[in-house]
Symmetry: C2
Subunit: 163 residues, 2 copies
């Protein structure tokens, strides 16, 4: 995406740090923390968005609050060679898949899945397994988190039902 090194100095790093800590911090405040004017900070942020260093600003939400109470990792095994392009298509058909990647090891891909509950998860799993060239899946359910679950939280679709 950016073959060019895209100059990225300590000032940029400090600005990014500030925005990761609180994406709603005003440019003026960031500026006085790093020693720039608000305008200069804005210009740097705009540039970092253009070059793809910063991809967006998002609210981090407790998934449980939105009704996503079940979380699992699913290893996917494909028939024959698994073309990543085709896999990517498949993955986009299932909104419950919040992350997906090709990996080393026995499996072809690893999916991160969020569902309302175990019933919903089972339905998602069945739906995934009917996809053409998926041979088998192995699911690992998440029991509890050992870290404050920083971002990585958001099922970008916000809401099923909350009782």
């Amino acid at each position: 995406m950016n073959s060019r090194p895209a100059p990225f100095d300590d000032l940029d790093r400090k600005i990014v740090t500030a925005l990761m800590a609180n994406a709603r911090t005003s440019f003026a405040e960031i500026g006085s923390a790093v020693g720039l004017s608000a305008t200069a900070v804005k210009r740097r942020v705009d540039r970092m968005r253009e070059t793809g260093v910063i991809t967006g600003f998002t609210a981090t939400v407790t998934p449980e609050a939105l009704g996503w109470r079940t979380e699992a990792y699913v290893e996917v095994y494909c028939e024959g060679a698994a073309p990543p392009r085709r896999l990517a298509e498949v993955v986009r058909n299932h909104p419950e898949i919040t992350a997906a990647m090709t990996v080393t090891g026995g499996a072809d891909a690893l999916l991160h899945v969020r569902a309302r509950d175990v019933d919903h998860f089972e339905a998602v799993l069945e739906r995934i397994r009917t996809e053409p060239f998926i041979r088998k899946t192995i699911s690992v359910m998440v029991l509890s988190h050992l870290l404050p679950e920083s971002p990585e939280a958001g099922a970008s679709q916000p809401a099923p039902d909350v009782r």
Copy 2:
């Protein structure tokens, strides 16, 4: 944290959706999108932060841009019973661990690890394996992402070196 169900209506859902799409959207703009005044939107956002529905606002950053070019999942197997409390302590000792959870299946825990490169990852792995009651680890390296890697991006520590 929230013993009370914390009423959460469609308006709240829309507000959260707007903030997840762009955490820097002004309250006024959100208000005109959902049919409320800016003040009303702010109050609802404040309440959602208090009740823990919204845990923060953060910039999403391409990890590669910050020098994290290697990513892996590490299954952890412990000696005997693995007390989650102790595991959580261990996990916090290694800043490269960006997510950690207890899971079903053969392993006791699953770690998400980011490192600068494979050398760095190897060092992290060795460091983890010297922890007292960790018996063995199985690593799965991430090759490529099949989804735009929404959040879940951030190693909350921003920077090693960018060549």
